[in-house]
Amino acid sequence: MKELSFAIKNTIPIFFTYLFIGIAFGILMSDAGYGILLSTASAFFIFAGSMQIVMVPMMTSGASLISIAIMTFFINARHLFYGIGFIEQFRNMGWKKPYMILTLTDETYSLLCSVQYDPGLDKNKAAFLIAFLDHMYWVFGCFLGSCAGQFLDFDMEGIIFSATAFFLVVVVNQWRQQRSKLPFFVAVVCSAVFLLLLGKDYFIIPTLIACLLSLMLLRRSIETGEVSDDE
């Protein structure tokens, strides 16, 4: 089946990333006392790395479901914009359409945006297999990490840093892509203000709301900055 080998070939980098971050998530979950079933279910149903990793400390501190929902909204709000480019393509995918929509992660999205389909390939089938393989890599990684955390007894203290490293990598990539650097400074200033005002346990949601409002207010200067960079 040439679509399958095409999908495997194109998803290999994602395989390694998902496996490692999935394992880190599984170990985090198991360190926090949550079992294989919960880790695997999170991977299968949520399938959003950043939020799953943030969810663990929120869960251990007994955060309310409302604050979990708000946090999920902010962390995954970027997904609001991913579907826009695929409204046309997913329309003729029949039963696969809901699956394609619900599994559109950062990595699947960037791959589907950039992939060059070989001539003669069934494009819809190949796109579906890419989404499906990514999903399975993630479930497998989270499952493995959870098993490792439960049955292996090695010192994993500090594995939590993989979450920090993951977000740092994303920030570095975005820094290179974004023409206006203002959003990064807005984020640092808002975080600093609310960290000082509210402390480390309560600053995140007000900070995210403040970022949203500041960016709306700063729209003119950000867009002017982007234009002047072109000259």
């Binding site: 950043s50 943030v54 997904h79 609001l80 203290e157 490293a165 709306m216």
Partner: protein, 108 residues
């Protein structure tokens, strides 16, 4: 409530439902219509701000006032940034940074 077996299940369900709603939103609302300008703009500038806040959120437990003064966090973070900047290999950056951090917290 938070000690009940249902709490983690409820957390996972809420997280999944919000994530699904966000992913399905453009298909449900915009269909064929063009995006409002402000939404388009926010789609571009919000992700870098959110990710920057998340880095700070992850590092919130670091105490710079007492030993080891956040040194493991600082060194490991710089290593991740430099590696990602030079090599651009996400997997390499995350693994090296994490291993470096795990070694540093044992040494210091």
């Amino acid at each position: 409530m938070t000690n009940s077996v249902f709490y983690p299940i409820a957390v996972i369900a809420v997280t999944a439902l919000v994530t699904w709603t966000l992913r399905a939103f453009p298909f449900l609302v915009f269909g064929n219509r063009p995006l409002p300008e402000m939404v388009h703009y926010l789609g571009r500038v919000l992700p870098p701000a959110i990710m920057t806040v998340l880095v700070i959120y992850c590092l919130r437990e670091t105490s710079f006032a007492q030993y080891p003064f956040g040194i493991p966090e600082i060194i490991a973070s710089l290593l991740v940034i430099v590696l990602q900047w030079i090599r651009g290999n996400m997997y390499l950056s995350i693994v090296t940074g994490t291993v470096c951090y795990m070694i540093l917290i044992h040494l210091l």
